[in-house]
């Protein structure tokens, strides 16, 4: 892990100003930011651990916990909001049993809301591992989760 971190830091010539992009690359490599990787960044970039920690927790892009196999992002931009994204968010949270920003205990699903994906014509939008699902509504979001393998309360009613 340390070698990988050193390699990433070298990509940016060890320039401290590139802390944010360095952390993004480290996260991409390990699917999240393990504590050891962050300590390695601190050591090899000569930046105090407290500042690395501050930057990691300040920016929303970073995750200190592993992400799920399926990463769901629901757009909560204004356009999607006025088209009812809030109700979809609550529905997804109910079904997955987690709050936005969290991952299910079995590490299958991560759910987050994002500021705006810029695909407003398709709003509301959910992105699953980079795949866009547009024109979402409550029923479709339930179906989407079912298709990903999640058992849903209304299954028994069919």
């Amino acid at each position: 892990m340390e070698e990988k971190v050193k390699e990433i830091i070298q990509r940016y010539s060890g320039d401290k100003s590139y802390l944010v992009p360095i952390l993004q690359d480290v996260q991409k490599e390990f699917n999240y930011l393990p504590k050891d990787a962050l300590c390695a960044v601190s050591t090899h970039l000569s930046v105090p651990v407290s500042r690395v920690y501050e930057v990691v927790t300040f920016y929303k892009a970073f995750s200190l916990k592993p992400k799920g196999r399926y990463q769901l992002s629901l757009c909560m931009g204004t356009a999607c909001h006025v088209r009812g994204a809030e109700l979809i968010a609550r529905n997804v949270e109910d079904i997955l049993g987690i709050k936005e920003g969290d991952t299910t205990p079995d590490l299958e699903y991560s759910f987050e809301t994002v500021g705006c994906l810029g695909a407003c014509a398709l709003g509301p939008v959910i992105v699953v591992n980079g795949e866009y699902h547009g024109h979402m509504n409550i029923a479709k979001s339930t179906k989407l989760l079912k298709n990903l393998g999640k058992k849903v309360a209304t299954d028994d009613q069919d």
Binding site: K35, P48, V49, S50, R51, V52, Y53, E54, T57, F58
Partner: protein
């Protein structure tokens, strides 16, 4: 030298000074919470705001950061200023309802809590004045503590909220904290102190034999200055 007016008082000041510095030199009181003479101003509490007029433009600015200028007119007690200060205190009172220091400041300024702000119940006394972090970074130089998260989640802590190995137990942060939020406990004999979850062994003074500083702190000073640790083992009273 520049000529300016503060609260209708004509004052001469040196260029490069802040309004706060000049006001204090001239006996004009401006309240502050995050200002400290040994630290660079940060302008985060907003309590020291004043209303300035330069030419046609009127602005509300923090006096701790705004530099004096020729012809500047400053009002330290305008309606807008008092309203902003009142809100700042009311917000902090609701954030830290247990803080006696805040209650005193509020009383001095004649500010009552706003009943519509439900007081927070998590017994936090930290007002995020940033003095501890600034001290640890700039004066002590170890950056053992720092900020984490942002907005209402923002808090001061050690990295990962775990024991910080860079902390030298100097206690400067606890000393400088205006509300007593940072806790430092010393044993009865004084042989150890605990701060930020870590316990530090204290060193005794070669001369008087009393415990006076953590070993880690002396080791740090030694490594920074090159002075052998043993030479540093004399307390202030005995120097």
């Amino acid at each position: 030298m520049v000529n300016l007016t503060i609260d209708n008082k004509k004052i001469e000041a040196e260029a490069g000074q802040t309004i706060l510095e000049v006001a204090r030199e001239n006996g004009i009181v401006i309240p502050t919470l995050c200002a400290h003479e040994s630290l660079d101003a940060t302008g985060s509490c907003r309590l020291c705001v004043v209303e300035v007029k330069h030419g046609k433009r009127t602005r509300i600015v923090t006096s701790c950061l705004y530099q004096v200028a020729e012809g500047l007119t400053v009002d330290t007690k305008s309606e807008r200023v008092l309203a902003a200060r009142r809100l700042v205190l009311q917000l902090l009172l609701a954030r830290c309802p247990e803080s006696e220091q805040l209650q005193e400041v509020a009383k001095e300024m004649g500010v009552e809590p706003e009943p519509r702000f439900t007081p927070d119940k998590d017994n936090v006394k930290c007002i995020l004045c940033r003095m501890c972090v600034r001290t640890c970074e700039k004066i002590v130089g170890v950056s053992a503590i720092g900020f984490s998260y942002r907005g209402t989640e923002k808090n001061v802590c050690t990295p990962f909220k775990e024991d910080s190995l860079t902390c030298i137990g100097c206690g400067a942060c606890a000393y400088v904290c205006p509300t007593g939020h940072i806790e430092m406990e010393t044993t009865e004999t004084g042989d150890a102190r605990t701060i930020w979850g870590r316990t530090f062994k204290m060193k005794t003074c070669k001369v008087c034999g009393r415990y006076f500083a953590p070993e880690d702190q002396l080791a740090y000073i030694s490594s920074k200055t090159g002075v052998p640790a043993d030479n540093l083992a004399v307390c202030i009273s005995c120097r």
